[in-house]
Every structure is written in C-alpha cells, then in structure tokens.
Amino acid sequence: MQLSTSPDPTARISIRGLSKFYKDYLALDRVDLDVRKGERIVVLGPSGSGKSTFIRCLNRIEPHDSGVLMIDGRVIDDRTDLTALRGSVGMVFQNYNLFPHLSVLDNCTLAPRLVRGVGTSDAEATARRYLSQVNIAEQADKFPIQLSGGQQQRVAIARALCMNPEIILFDEPTAALDPESISGIVGIMRDLTEQGITTVCVTHEMGFARHIADRIVFMDRGAVLEITPPEEFFTAPRTERARTFLAQMIRH
C-alpha cells in the first residue's frame, strides 16, 4: 500500500517515517500508517520486531526520535500535553498492571479523580457502568489478587475506558489468558468498535488476530512490511518474511 508523503489530518492516527533508536539500535525504521476512526488494527511480527515499541510511541510512553505522529490532526511531539494525550489514548497491558493495593473500583476511579479532577461519586458511577460493560460489576469491591487473569484483564480495559479515550492500545492483551477468556476479550473489543473507539493491538495469537482485525500490520526489524486485511494476510501474504513467519506460527 502506497501512502502520500504528508500525514493525513482527517485520519484518527496518521504516521509518516516514524523512527526510534535505543542508542545505536534501530528499533523503529520509518513506519508509515493511517488508521481510521473505529478501525481495529492488529500488529503482528516476530519477537523483537518493534511491535511493542511501535504502540508505545502512539501514547508517547516511548518518545519517537524522528518522523511525524499525528492524532486527530494534532502533531504529537515533545511539546504535547502528555496528560491530555494519555487521556485520549488509553492502554492495556499483557500483565494487566492493575494497582494491587486498590479495589477494582478504586483502580478505575484513581486516574479520573487525580488527573481529570472528577468527583468521587461521578467517578464511581462511570466506573460501575464500564465494569458492567465488561461483565464484572459484581467484583467492584474485590482486590485484583482475588480475580482470575481474564477478570483482571477486563478490569484493565474498564480502567482504560474510564478516561473516555478515543483510542485504546492493547499490548499483547491475551498472552496470559486461557482460550475462554480470550473469546471474552474479543467480544469486548468488538463492543469498543461499536462505541467508535479505535484499537491498535499487538498480539502473538493468530486466531485472535484473525477474529478482530480490520487490517493486519506485519512488522520485522522495526519496519512495516505489509498492511493488509486479515483474510489476505493469512491466505496470501505478499512478502517472503510474512510467509516464513506464518509457517513457523502454524507449526507451533
């Protein structure tokens, strides 16, 4: 796919020539990508291909070194208000990273109260609504340690939703989950799309990727090699690298 050289301000996310170095190591190599509102992007690639670095650049947890990152037509760089950026771009992690010392409800209300200054009762009402959406409203007063992995990941999604983000980044959300929990997460991610939330998801689960992706972004050695719809990617990958990657995945 050929993109124009300048970023597209009408896209939800528009990326041109995004690069990132760790000292001398090139972690991201001139990445170009446009993401539409409500689109579900899945980033695939072997370990060390730069997938996680890539999505961490999108909420600037990892600042990029060169190239342009634009979200809703606004350029994201070192002058960007990070609090506002993180409010509109939420994130869900592989190990959930819930706050273990806080109840499920407090996990969901902490950031809205501290960062947004929302009142406790409003924050709790919002939290309970999103906890219901991810089907764990009855666990609101428990501590994370009392929940299963799938339940914890749903709390993490509810926690991200409480900030009313337009985009949610998923960093290998299903890596620590059993198949049943994974299908629960698939359902939740479809619901997010219906609410108009754009999702960018890094995963190793081929079945999960195939189920939820509108488009697959395939990366290797920091560079994007393919951007294709899942049917095409899994049946007729364009690059040799993608073919060997898929072959290895199927073998395992």
């Binding site: 609090t83 993180r86 992690f93 501290l114």
Partner: protein, 539 residues
C-alpha cells in the same frame, strides 16, 4: 542507705531576671562580677565568706560548669531515685567552689570515658569525679589535689591478705575502664613477665558497681579501687568483701580537680582549695561523707540479704526515674527513626536512579555510617565535633540533640537500604500503567508506588526500630539519662543489681512488644497482598 541526704539545692541553672541579665551583659567586668556576687549573696549563699578578686577563665558566662560521672560514691553519685540530684564529696566541693567564685554551678553527668574529652571540648570548665592526680594526665591538663587517698585491692571475705601486687600473679582482677588502674596493673605485669611469672589477668568494666559485682559473684579474684569508695560501700558490702592489700602507689595518693592547662587558672584554683582547707571546710565535707582513715573499721560484720527483693523491684518499676528514662528512650528512638525515614526516602529514590555525582556521594554516606560503630559516631558528634565547630559546644547542643543527630544519621544509612529494596520490589509495570493513565510522577509515587513499597518495607523497618530502641542505651556515654543510664546510676547507689536490671528489662520488653503488636495491626491493612485473607475479609 546513706543517711546524709544533700540539702535541697537547685542544681539546675538558676534563672536570672531579664533585667539583671541585661545589666550584667552591658556592665564592665568588675561591675558584672559585683552584680553577680550580689545576686549570689542574696539568693544562693548568704553565708559565703571567701572573696574572689579574680575569676579563673574556666568560669565564664557567669557560671561554673562541672563534668562528673556520678557512679562513684561517696565522691560523686546520685542520692535517691531522682537522677538529677547529685551528691557526694566532689559535688559539695564543686558547689563550694562555685560559691567561692560567686557563680552558680552547672553540673553535667556523663560516662567516665567522656570526662576528659568533654573538658577538652570546653563543654565544661572542670572535672571533679573521683579522679586521681597522676603524672600522665598532667601532660594534658592541670590538676589541684583536694583529698588524700590510697589504692586498695579488695576480694571476697575470707580471702587471705597478700603482701604485694605480685601475689596476684595469674589471678583475674577487675577495674573500671578509663581509670589508670589498668595502666598500673600493666606495669606490674611487665615486672611479673620479666621475673618469668604469670601476669595478672585484667578485666575492665564501664562502671564501678559492675567492677564490684564481679567480685561478689566470684568471677574475678579481686578488684582495685580507692579506699574512700569502700568507706561508702561498706553499708552495701558489709560482711561480703575484705581488703587484701593496700599497695603503695605514689601516683594514687590524691584526688584532684582537673582543668584545661592554664598556669593562672591553676594558681587561682589552688588558692581556693587552700582557703577551703584552712577554713576546715574540706575536712568537714570528708567527715560528712564518712571518709575517715581507718581501714580496719570499715567492714563491720553485717549480713545483707542476697535474695531477690520484690519491693525494690516494684518500686524501681514504678519510680518516676525509670518512667522518665523509658519515656526518653522511646522519644529519642521515635524521633531519630522518623527523621531517618524522612531523609532516607529521597535518598533511596536518588540511589535507585541514574548514576551521578550525588548518587556516588550518597553511596559514600551510606558506606561510612553503616561502617562506623554507632557508639563511635555518638562519641564523635559529642566530643570531636566541638573541636572543629565551636558552635557545638554551646548550651543549646544538649546530649538529647546530639543523640538525635547521630542516631538519625546512623539509622538513615540502614533505612535507605530498606527503602531502596522496597521501591525496587514494586513492579515497573505499575509505573507504566500510571504513566499510561496520565498520572504525574508525584501522583504515581504518592498513590501507586509508596503504598506498595510501604508494605514491603514495614517488617524490616519495625525490625530496625526495635534495634534502634535498644541502641539508644549507648547514649548514656554522652550523658543522656535514658533507661539504661538511669538503671546504672540506681545500681551504683544501691548495689541491687538484679532488681534494677529486671525492672529495666521489663520496660524494654514492654516497649518492644508494643511495637510488635502495632506491626501486626498495621499488616492487617495489607489484605490486598494476600489472596486467602483478602477473600475472607473483603466479602
């Protein structure tokens, strides 16, 4: 018990009216002296007879400061359960000298080892503490003798008398550390070794009462002390010990007042002592404290009970002296640890951060203060610091402040390691999650990292605190009247070791148990870390 209780003289610094203070400060030296003299004459000693034409330089700020170790009755000790009520021949002499120069006396109590460093540090003007006039000490200080004395070797009753110190060859002998008896025994040992005989085995103890106790419990054969002390101890020791030798050491014949080297001061002090001697005041003091020259009459055959005295134990337990000592121990431990925690948290954060000059300096700080013995740090801050910074010899720098300072610094070096480990143990994913939610660094520390690090740090911190609570007992060397210092002073007065040690033990244990209980209560708040407990409690 001694029947001679000292008169109820206020030993704390007498307060002057602000107006008088202003006048004395502005006035010329001679007027100042006259005003002070008038004041003293009017309020303290209407009967003062001597006239001071000239004040020695160690009398300054209108007061005479005294360093003494009140564990040597009848020279200097605490008479009664009030640890501030000093008594004895030395204290009477010091009071009399103060009156002689028409100034109030400000005594300071400390360990024997602390006396001369304190004199050097100008923490006090003179040392009167049953210290003998000896050539070795005269190299660094001036001394004026005020009482004749002689050395005695004392053993349990029934031990045969000996002819010379050489007869103690191969025997164990106890002395008080910091005294010159140790050096004297070393000289005896040199002669013994030269003669191919076994040396005397020497044991040193920080207080005189412990020295005596070693003989009573039969651990050592004899102890070396001064005869005057025995005159006093006879009430406690009657029938238990006997003098086995009165060796003739020329260096041990006189008790002396020590001052910093100054020929003019020495001359003035000598004149004062001469005046008091001529007026018969010194011999009156000696009589008052039962210091008479007949060795043989000392030990009348009186049996003292050796059973545990519950009345003494309970009265010690309930005494204000012990209560105050325990409160002081608790307060200094809590203050020091709080200070240590407050300064060690940012230190730990810095030490966990990137390499920098500050980080290396902090590493050095931790290494030094964990490496040096706490006792040495206390002694350094109290005795050596004033030599570098004169501000630390001023009156505001009390033993309490010095202890607080040194224990805080010392404890912070240990606490910083606990904090470092606790902060490191918090999953880095927590910071990532807080970051992704838009929380600031301060919010992340306050609401995410610290609550989790606290749970990890709490048990070792309570452990440290309990250790610190007991470390405070070291502060007795710089004259802080904490629990153990109070205990030792009481023991020196009454010789009832077991009862007073038991009372101190009860206090220490009670305090430690309270904090262990507190730890359990606080840990209950960390249910979130324990799946089993969390599921039962949170339902």
């Amino acid at each position: 018990m001694p029947s001679t209780r000292p008169p109820a003289l206020a030993l704390s610094r007498p307060r002057r009216t602000p107006a008088l203070q202003r006048i004395t400060r502005r006035a010329a030296p001679w007027r100042r002296i006259c005003l002070a003299a008038l004041f003293v004459l009017a309020f303290i000693l209407p009967a003062a007879r001597a006239h001071a034409d000239d004040l020695p330089s160690f009398v300054h700020d209108g007061q005479l400061t005294l360093c003494t170790n009140p564990t040597l009755p009848p020279m200097t000790f605490v008479n009664g359960s009030d640890t501030n009520a000093l008594a004895g021949m030395d204290i009477d002499l010091a009071r009399r000298l103060a009156a002689y120069w028409h100034v109030p006396l400000v005594p300071q109590t400390m360990d024997f080892e602390g006396l001369f460093p304190s004199l050097s540090a100008q923490r006090c003007g003179m040392v009167i503490s049953g210290v003998l006039r000896q050539a070795g000490r005269l190299r660094n200080y001036d001394a004026v003798a005020y009482l004749d004395s002689s050395v005695v070797a004392v053993a349990r009753v029934g031990t045969p008398r000996i002819r010379t110190m050489a007869d103690l060859s191969g025997q164990t002998v106890a002395v008080q550390s910091g005294t010159s008896y140790a050096a004297q025994i070393e000289r005896e040992n040199d002669r013994l070794r030269a003669a191919g005989r076994l040396p005397i085995i020497l044991q040193q103890y920080p207080t005189e009462d412990q020295v005596v106790q070693q003989v009573l419990i039969g651990r050592v054969h004899a102890f070396i002390s001064q005869d005057v002390e025995l005159y006093y101890r006879q009430k406690q020791l009657g029938g238990k010990v006997t003098i086995i030798l009165t060796p003739d050491y020329p260096d041990f014949h006189q008790f002396a007042v020590y001052i910093r080297k100054d020929a003019h001061d020495t001359e003035l002090l000598q004149k004062a002592i001469d005046d008091l001697t001529q007026q018969g005041e010194l011999s009156a003091m000696a009589r008052k404290w039962g210091i008479s020259g007949d060795h043989q009459s000392v030990f009348t055959d009186r049996k003292a009970s050796s059973r545990f005295d519950f009345a003494t134990f309970f009265s010690a337990l309930l005494s204000t002296a012990f209560l105050k000592g325990a409160a002081l121990t608790l307060v200094i431990a809590i203050l020091s640890h709080l200070t240590a925690i407050i300064i060690s948290v940012p230190m730990a954060m810095k030490l966990n951060g990137r390499d920098s000059i500050v980080r290396r300096l902090l590493g050095l700080y931790v290494a030094i203060f964990r490496g040096a013995p706490t006792l040495l740090q206390l002694l350094f801050i109290w005795n050596a610091l004033p030599q570098f910074f004169p501000i630390f010899r001023e009156h505001w720098f009390t033993p309490f402040l010095a202890t607080w300072l040194s224990l805080s610094i010392n404890e912070s070096a240990y606490q910083v390691e606990i904090n470092r480990a606790a902060l490191r143990a918090v999953d880095p994913g927590q910071v990532l999650a807080a970051d992704a939610l838009g929380m600031t660094t301060a919010q992340t520390y306050r609401h995410v990292i610290f609550p989790q690090a606290l749970r990890i740090a709490l048990p070792p911190t309570i452990n440290e605190f309990i250790s610190l609570l007991k470390t405070t007992s070291l502060a007795s060397v710089i004259s802080l009247q904490e629990l153990l210092a109070v205990t030792q002073i009481q023991v020196a007065r009454t010789f009832q070791f077991t009862e007073y040690y038991a009372a101190a033990l009860v206090y220490y244990l009670a305090m430690v148990f309270f904090f262990l209980f507190l730890q359990k209560r606080i840990e209950r708040r960390f249910v979130w870390a324990d799946r089993d407990k969390a599921s039962t409690d949170a339902a």
